[in-house]
Symmetry: C2
């Protein structure tokens, strides 16, 4: 089973990396870029076929390691 | 218009960050994790309404700054 995890910075938390990329895009002539937010994208391959169990386990991985839930949100999709 | 960009490491390129996360997950008891690949996830807010133009511009941003096309792949979605 494959899990795709998206970790994003919460809306009210500053994203200095995104601001830097926006500045770089502006200086390259992409003036239409209003805002940039950068997050992480993870693809996990899991050796399991039980969807319900996988969902619970991936949630635990996100809470414990993959996301810092103080400043980050996460969501994930399971397939296969 | 909103653009969501996914930047991933090409399949045949080593991903040391993913390997480190996999090792950490294993040592935390998540033995079912076979493989981890880590990429970037970007949300761009664009001040434009022309979808065709936005697609061309976002592609240029990816080629020139957001992705290193030697070792990374990218794909993006436009909405709004």
């Amino acid at each position: 089973m494959k899990a795709t995890v998206y970790v994003t910075i919460k809306q009210n938390v500053l994203d200095p990396q995104g601001t830097a990329v926006q500045g770089a895009l502006h200086s390259m002539g992409f003036a239409e870029v209003d805002k940039v937010r950068i997050g992480k994208y993870l693809e996990l391959t899991l050796d399991t076929t039980d969807r319900a169990e996988a969902e619970e386990r991936v949630r635990a991985m996100c809470e414990k390691l993959l996301a810092n839930t103080v400043v980050e949100d996460y969501r994930f999709e399971l397939e296969g």
